[in-house]
Each structure stands twice: as structure tokens, then as C-alpha cells.
């Protein structure tokens, strides 16, 4: 692995769901190419963290705007997916913090999370997800993100720590803290 340049983020350190190089000559992707290929992936992570589909489009655009400067610097285009995941988690966290502030200032009227799952999902599972997301709105964003990545995105603990840019111990603590809040709505589930 090529060492990161001093002062630059570790673009190669995140190996989450790495894919093989997308172009035979490993040429950097253009913004358009990267967007068309990876926007669905970013959107999926974004929705699972935010829980609100109407915020996903803005988040996806922000992620690619933030990532575009780094696209040219990636020497391993296959690492783009992991890099985008990291950026998505960071920007989604910013959105969640703003949302909590707005909620505290009574500017966010809440959200009906019944539609966070597809209409084809089992109705009881849809209800469970709706209750969980409503409860997650009350949890600090770092804890929420760690828990969501672990249990809704299905990431391993090590990857959760990578994506959240924290230690494994911190990731576990955050997940446990969010779990305590989620447990209140799970009841006998």
C-alpha cells in the first residue's frame, strides 16, 4: 500500500467493499464516470444512515462534490468505493447534527419513517424499521451512525471503526450506547 502523503487523508486505508479497478489502465475516473457508477451505492448508504429519502439526493451531490478533488489523486480506482463510503459517512453525520439542532430548536417536525423500507417489505419489518429510525433520531449522531453501519448496513466492527474514523473500542462504545436507546423500542422483538 502506498503511504499517504503527509497531511493528506489516508485514501487507501479504507478497504470497505473494494472493487477491482474499473478501467483497464487504472486511469482516474472523471466525476461523471464516478457518479454514474457509484451514486447508487452512496445513495444506499446515505438512506440507511439518514432514514429520509428526500435528503438522499442532496447528500449524494455533496459527497461527489467533496470527493471530486480527490478522484484525480487516487492511484487505485478500485478504492474509490471505500473512499466514497467514508465521505458519505462524514457528510451524513453533518446532516444528522444539523437535524438534531433543528429538532432542539423545534424546527424539525419529525418524520414518518413508515416509508423508509420498500412497500414490498414485510409489514412488521417495516414497522420495526420505522420505530428504530424514529428512536435513532434521539441518539447522538456518532452513536447513531456507528449503530446503523453495524446493524442496518451490516458492516463488520473493524469497518465501522474505519468508516467512523475512530478506534475499534470507540466504535463498540458508540454502538452500545445507541443500542441502549434502540432497546427501549425493541421490547420483546
Amino acid at each position: 500500500m502506498t503511504p499517504a502523503k503527509k497531511g493528506r487523508p489516508h485514501l487507501y486505508a479504507v478497504g470497505v467493499n473494494d472493487v477491482p479497478p474499473v478501467q483497464p489502465d487504472d486511469a482516474p475516473l472523471t466525476l461523471d464516470q464516478a457518479f454514474r457508477r457509484f451514486a447508487p451505492y452512496v445513495a444506499a448508504i446515505g438512506l440507511r444512515i439518514l432514514g429520509r429519502n428526500d435528503e438522499v439526493d442532496d447528500l449524494v451531490q455533496e459527497v461527489f462534490l467533496a470527493a471530486q478533488r480527490s478522484l484525480k489523486e487516487l492511484r487505485q480506482p478500485g478504492a474509490i468505493k471505500g473512499w466514497l463510503a467514508t465521505v458519505t459517512v462524514r457528510l451524513a453525520g453533518q446532516r444528522l447534527r444539523k437535524r438534531r439542532l433543528r429538532s432542539w430548536l423545534r424546527l424539525d417536525d419529525g418524520f414518518d419513517y413508515e416509508d423508509v423500507a420498500a412497500t414490498t417489505a414485510d409489514p412488521s419489518d417495516r414497522l420495526l424499521l420505522a420505530r428504530i429510525y424514529a428512536q435513532l433520531d434521539r441518539v447522538p449522531s456518532k452513536q447513531r451512525i456507528a449503530w446503523t453501519l453495524r446493524y442496518i448496513e451490516g458492516e463488520r466492527l473493524e469497518h465501522v471503526a474505519l468508516l467512523c474514523a475512530c478506534s475499534l473500542a470507540t466504535a463498540k462504545r458508540r454502538i452500545a450506547a445507541a443500542q441502549a436507546a434502540v432497546d427501549r423500542v425493541l421490547g420483546d422483538d
Partner: protein
């Protein structure tokens, strides 16, 4: 693993934003626009800093009294109410909720249509100009199609107030269409008036009428006209059949869309839009009519008509879903295997693996 974890594991793929090609293209357009806007702002900010620095330098360096100072004046952007809430739409348009009770419902965002309903309250619509996309607002039974770039609407107890602040709007109410030009206002009573002051031109061409309404996004009214006995049958042309199917779907009558889509597949299979018709038919059967076997056949047809179409991957994934819902596990597994072979890096790999029982 506890039971709730099992359920989350199972329903993980159901938390899906439904990010399709159309949404991707619209988002990419908005992204490019945002990028240009930020570049302009950054350039303007740098210019301001440079000028401010020059002005400061000029003021602090001893100069003859006659030396001129540079003064830059900026015109501030129009301010929005500080308590306005914003709904961002995927094409870059915005809805400002200007009153506390304002709410947006039934938001439907497609490549050629953005439609939404509003509750009582006051709203401002900042609409991105896109000739190929209709922007339609439903307010208490009144349909407002925004043709310009800014419209203010207030839905009260007894009337809808519409102000075409920039550009024109069409208001459809009580079976009539009114046009507001730039700067004009209208008050539309919510109850059908017993006496109309303005008589619209009597359009006796029913075919043209339902098509015109549909093209403006007035799907409810278009469907009502389409179903009138006096309206001629939809002509056997692909574009007209697809438009009629959209009218049926978007006005909440999915079953009525089926014959139009089937007619395209029966009589116009070589039309480039036939694959899209099959795909749409599959979605109608699966999502709106709960008929997964018919849906699976339609999705298979979409791929058979155009195996290399951009929708082919999604059609195969949905065929897996349809067979799974129909309880045909073997067929679901076969199609899932085919999907994984064809699209090993596909967007729906995890979803297909789960539904095809290949985990």
C-alpha cells in the same frame, strides 16, 4: 443472533432509495449546476477579498489626498423568510414552506414530471426551468402547473391564492384551465362556483384535450376526460398509448394502464420504447396490482425485447423479486444465478442473492 437482528438482516435490502438511471441523470445535472455555482461564489469571494485588501492597503498607505479609493457595491440576494423551511427536489427546484402548518405530501419525482400535493399553508416554488419536465402542485383539488421559475401559493380554507411571481402558471380547477402571466394573481375558490365569470374556450377536440392536460401534468383531469364516453379511443400509436398509460398510473388507476402497455407490446414490439413499456408493465403488476407472476413475465419480456437496454439489469433483478413474491423459489434462484453471472458488480447483487436464496 437475536430475533430483531434476524429481522434487520432480512429487511436490510428493503431500505433502498430506489436510485434508478433517471434519478441519477437528474442528480448529475444538479451536481454540475451546484459545482458551477460554487465556483462562481468562490471566484466572487476571492475577488471581494482581493478588492477589500486593495482598499485596505489604499487606505493605510500614505497617499496624496487626491488618490481615489476603490469602492465595491454588492447587491445582496433576495432574502428568504428566516423561519422558512426548505424542501429540495432532485432537479434543483425548491419548495419553501412559508407558514408553520405548511406540509408537502405525495411527492412524485420522475425525469419528466415532478408532482406534489400541499396542505393548508403558504408556499413558494422556485422551479428550475426544464421544458421536458412538468412541475405540478395539487392544492385542495386545484392543480397548478408552474411554467415559469417562481410561484407563490397559499391554500386557505375556502380558496387557493396563486401568484405567478416569475413566469406563467396554469391553474386547473373545476374542469377549467386558467393561465396566469408573469406578475398576475388569482384566487380560486375551492368549491365549484355556481356561476363562472370567465368562460373558457369550448374545446371540442377531446383527444387533444386529454393529451394537453396530461402533457401539462394534469393527470387527474386527463383521466377523467379519457374515460368519457364521448372521447375517442386512444390511437394505436406508441407515444399515445404510453401517455395514456401514464395518465392512468399517475391518476391512481394502475389497472387501467395495463391495456395500453400491453397494446404497445402486442403491436409495436420493434419500437425502441417497447422495452420500457414492458418494464413499466412489470412495475405496475408487481408494485401496484400485486400480481407477481404477471410482473415476472413482463420483466422477462423487457429483457427479451432489448437485452442490452440500460434497464435490462434492473429488469432481471425485479424478475427475481417477482418470482420470489410469487413463491416460485426455483425460478427466483435461477434468475438470481443468471443475474450474478451477468452482473457480478451489479447494484442489486445483495438484494438478488437474498431473494434468490443464494446467501
Amino acid at each position: 443472533m437475536t430475533s430483531w437482528q434476524d429481522r434487520l438482516e432480512r429487511s436490510r435490502e428493503d431500505v433502498d432509495p430506489g436510485w434508478d438511471d433517471a434519478r441519477s441523470e437528474l442528480a448529475l445535472v444538479a451536481l454540475v449546476r451546484k459545482k458551477k455555482r460554487r465556483t462562481r461564489i468562490r471566484t466572487a469571494a476571492l475577488a471581494t477579498v482581493a478588492v477589500a485588501g486593495l482598499a485596505w492597503t489604499t487606505l493605510h498607505i500614505p497617499e496624496p489626498a487626491s488618490a481615489p479609493t476603490v469602492v465595491v457595491q454588492h447587491q445582496s440576494a433576495e432574502s428568504e423568510p428566516s423561519d422558512a423551511r426548505l424542501v429540495h427536489l432532485i432537479d434543483g427546484s425548491r419548495v419553501l414552506l412559508l407558514s408553520p402548518e405548511a406540509r408537502v405530501h405525495n411527492l412524485n419525482q420522475q425525469a419528466d414530471l415532478i408532482a406534489l400535493d400541499v396542505a393548508a399553508g403558504r408556499y413558494r416554488f422556485d422551479v428550475e426551468q426544464r421544458p421536458s419536465r412538468a412541475f405540478v402542485v395539487g392544492a385542495g383539488g386545484v392543480s397548478v402547473t408552474v411554467l415559469g421559475t417562481r410561484c407563490v401559493l397559499e391554500l386557505g380554507e375556502s380558496a387557493v391564492h396563486v401568484f405567478a411571481e416569475r413566469g406563467s402558471v396554469h391553474i386547473e380547477a373545476h374542469g377549467q384551465i386558467h393561465k396566469l402571466n408573469d406578475g398576475q394573481r388569482a384566487e380560486v375558490p375551492l368549491l365549484a362556483p355556481t356561476k363562472t365569470k370567465h368562460v373558457l374556450r369550448n374545446d371540442t377536440d377531446k383527444t387533444k384535450r386529454w393529451k394537453t392536460l396530461a402533457e401539462r401534468g394534469g393527470y387527474d383531469a386527463a383521466f377523467a376526460v379519457l374515460k368519457q364516453k364521448s372521447t375517442p379511443k386512444v390511437r394505436d400509436r406508441t407515444e399515445e398509448l404510453l401517455l395514456a398509460a401514464d395518465v392512468a398510473r399517475f391518476s391512481g388507476h394502475p389497472r387501467s394502464a395495463v391495456p395500453y402497455l400491453e397494446q404497445v407490446l402486442k403491436k409495436h414490439r420493434k419500437d425502441p420504447r417497447a422495452s420500457l413499456a414492458a418494464f413499466t408493465l412489470g412495475r405496475v403488476w408487481l408494485r401496484e396490482l400485486g400480481q407477481p407472476r404477471q410482473a415476472a413475465d413482463a420483466f422477462a419480456d423487457a429483457r427479451a425485447i432489448a437485452p442490452d437496454h440500460p434497464l435490462a439489469e434492473d429488469a432481471l433483478a425485479r424478475e427475481v423479486e417477482a418470482w420470489h413474491q410469487a413463491g416460485e423459489t426455483q425460478r427466483a434462484q435461477q434468475r438470481a444465478t443468471e443475474y450474478l453471472l451477468r452482473y457480478p458488480d451489479g447494484r442489486r447483487v445483495a438484494h438478488v442473492r437474498r431473494l434468490g436464496d443464494l446467501d
